[in-house]
Symmetry: C4
Subunit: 174 residues, 4 copies
Amino acid sequence: MHRGRLEAFSDGVIAILITIMVLELKVPRRADLAGLLPLYPVFLSYALSFIYLGIYWSNHHHMLQLVDRVNGKILWANLHLLFWLSLVPFVTGWMGENGAAPLPTALYGVVLLLAAIAYTILQTAIIRSQGPDSKLRAAVQGDRKGKLSIVCYAAAVPLALMWLVPDRRIESRY
Amino acid sequence: MHRGRLEAFSDGVIAILITIMVLELKVPRRADLAGLLPLYPVFLSYALSFIYLGIYWSNHHHMLQLVDRVNGKILWANLHLLFWLSLVPFVTGWMGENGAAPLPTALYGVVLLLAAIAYTILQTAIIRSQGPDSKLRAAVQGDRKGKLSIVCYAAAVPLALMWLVPDRRIESRY
Amino acid sequence: MHRGRLEAFSDGVIAILITIMVLELKVPRRADLAGLLPLYPVFLSYALSFIYLGIYWSNHHHMLQLVDRVNGKILWANLHLLFWLSLVPFVTGWMGENGAAPLPTALYGVVLLLAAIAYTILQTAIIRSQGPDSKLRAAVQGDRKGKLSIVCYAAAVPLALMWLVPDRRIESRY
Amino acid sequence: MHRGRLEAFSDGVIAILITIMVLELKVPRRADLAGLLPLYPVFLSYALSFIYLGIYWSNHHHMLQLVDRVNGKILWANLHLLFWLSLVPFVTGWMGENGAAPLPTALYGVVLLLAAIAYTILQTAIIRSQGPDSKLRAAVQGDRKGKLSIVCYAAAVPLALMWLVPDRRIESRY
């Protein structure tokens, strides 16, 4: 089985996710600044998620360059990654419309964390399929810090939020 | 006629269907758990349909590996399959928003059954186009149980529902 | 310039149009037949437009098989065709939600007629680019009746409607 | 890294943007001309944006013909262009629903200007990656006027608006 169709399908899903997110930017009824300005948190969260999905697409692109044949495990590990990425428009919209309130922001972080884990599972499935001479393992070893930093970054989002949530609860007692 | 464009078009449609389903997960107005929790049946039905469409995409992917040339019958049998798959977001949304009530769940099963039948028609059209030395027939014969189980599974959904529906009617008499 | 990207872009647009139409099938609030049945005209108009777009995709697919190189005129003639096809979901929705009332049905016919004209323009642009030994001209000549029937069929829709519209006006006088 | 997947992803995003714009053409409730006619500014702004995105797709198509290998800078310059293009449906909808009022029209111009700048950045990134023998630089030099005119045109839109905005303010004093 060739990797071409896996790439095409993943490209299709990520391209649609990126474009569907923009539907959350609902056209305001008023034609003035007072109609436009309340959209800025939705716009910011859209821009953030656009960059996130761009990073995933770019990394996915690079990783699959090193894959020759796709087996069933890789195919399902890839669908698993796309599942978590497909929830990005929902959490982006919820976070954007609530001005980065704690729970929506935490859920945003959780979805990104699960996507990062799914990405690692996909990477592992590819390395296993390639056996001891895995080209991907060789490439990832040299770049271990880079990959580690992505996982840490994704993990940091919900951690940061756990920090914030109690703070806000304490604040609410005053 | 080459199979490439048929694959690309089918990939496009299935990728869009998978992503359009997530639009049914409407962003709640409240930023707390009370806003999020009522979405869990919609989320579960989304996850179920994502897996279903993933299975179809994966099987479609494998089947077309064995096709060299596409004729008019295969092209229309493929569009027929895509038609029933295109109704999955609608029945997923209806089932999810009604907490798996009998009629929406039955309709969900009916659409999946019709998609399974359309898949079998497509398979038959490919085998006929390949003549007596059909590579697909050889592959399917060895895997007859696997294919049979898919059809049985799809058929079981509405059967199970027919079982449930009278039960509920009996219950409503008490 | 190669034809591959033109095909991929057209496939993408037609795949999205086919799937966007299904969004017009709005999930009913009620979980019973009384919620589902009013959707049947929307469903029928969706099925009709699915077949129409399927025919266009299939014919487009066949026509481009005979194209080797794409020039600017072909590229824009193709975008012109996609423009009219992109209005199919709108007219399908309007016709479906109004139970095939005269004006929505007439507009549906007008859009299909303009798409048929755009298809003929695209065909002419390809034949001209291929010069006197045009493979497409040779193919189309043998199939002149087939092409003529498509144009007649598309033309017949608004003609039939012009017939209907006065009828209804006469009826309204009683 | 090959250019194929960059093209496929860009085609996917632009195809979806073009088709998502048509969702702004909301199906009217009335089945007569009084329901249809108020949609004409939305239709006109849709047609304008369709042509704009068609021009971008066509130019993008031509430019990437001259690219053999894609590096990280080109990949991100391309995502940056797609980001601004992804805002076209939003500004098209805002302009269309407000009958080309000054602020929505100005924002429409701003988004197109930023897209034109992003296109120039992408072009520069490609030329730099190709070194002194850049095929793209050679092609662009011969067509400097064409490229300049695109930039001027895009720049003219907000300039024209700045001209209009004071006019309207003056008018409002009467």
